[in-house]
Symmetry: C2
Subunit: 227 residues, 2 copies
Amino acid sequence: MQNLDKLHRKLGYVFQQPELLERALTHRSYGARNNERMEFLGDAILGYLISTELYRQFPEATEGELSRLRASLVKGETLASIATELALGDYLNLGSGELKSGGHRRRSILADAFEAVIGAVYLDSGIDSASALVQAFFRERIGGLDPRTLKKDPKTRLQEHLQARGNQLPDYQVIATEGKAHEQRFRVACQITELAEPVIGEGTSRRKAEQAAAEKMLQTLTDRDNG
Amino acid sequence: MQNLDKLHRKLGYVFQQPELLERALTHRSYGARNNERMEFLGDAILGYLISTELYRQFPEATEGELSRLRASLVKGETLASIATELALGDYLNLGSGELKSGGHRRRSILADAFEAVIGAVYLDSGIDSASALVQAFFRERIGGLDPRTLKKDPKTRLQEHLQARGNQLPDYQVIATEGKAHEQRFRVACQITELAEPVIGEGTSRRKAEQAAAEKMLQTLTDRDNG
């Protein structure tokens, strides 16, 4: 584990209780005293800070657009990129198995550690410090969000994604409906020719379930392309 | 719509900008100026406040236990119960269709309105006021949480739920695996004899996907029993 001074500088924050940072950088493979509880905390703090910021910055956005903007910011891939900027991988405490299999480069471990660092800053000195940290790393990302992309619904974006690659359009099938009128839940399978298995979306209307399925399919395709 | 004074007293909070409260009580069926954005905000604020409170009050709980505790507190049924305590239904602005079909008693509309009220308090005077409101309505509920119940994982609870009703045990089947080693996603179908359709759970291991499916099945059964 490297000296933490450099990490403090990159974070723009110096811990009063460095043991909190140490804990945030400790993966569960290392032992019982690990960062999982801090990750739970950091995840909720990040969701709150990003949500309030988006609410202010996009006064014309609908609830659905705000949700999609938030999802694009707090997804694992974004968090792992920030963790990589911070070189968090160099500081991780990992068990021997994870060390050998390259755990310090694993995207999910990096993303979780960054969330845990947010939780640790909150525990060290409160929500304002956590907010400053999140602002520092998300300001440009929020500024770079393209409202035009986000105004497009997932079905439209999936269609465009597939057409741009010369692929066939997706097929949507309602596979289940549950509940009484006014409280119904729909389950829709979205199938594309490139993947053997459909993905399933749920919602309170057929349209919402299709959109949820399209969103998941887009995520599946993005994960695969990045994988 | 009733005079808001009584609601102010029940909330223990008086709005400086009553138009924010009015907006929080306006369902989308009423018009374009509705509470959906505030609900987005309130949902994230509630998640943050409940998460930090649980982190403090349950120092021995694992991340999984904290997540389950939180889910039990912020689920629609709990929020609808609080909205009912507040008699929010008496104050809702609803479109004529929703009015006729009893929208002021619909649990999902009530739950959403309570989240929107949390968002409105935050917008009116900041996170400390929102925190006081959430504390007031969740203190007893958090105090009443039984760690023993929560230490049980979803598969165990589903099994006990079914056995207590003399029903057959659930069947779990892996229906898909995606992704490369170390980044794999599993999808598991959980089927019980009482429901025609299985529910699907996902996770980074077979065990996690089974637990996720069991959790969803418990939720489906609870929703049905309350429905």
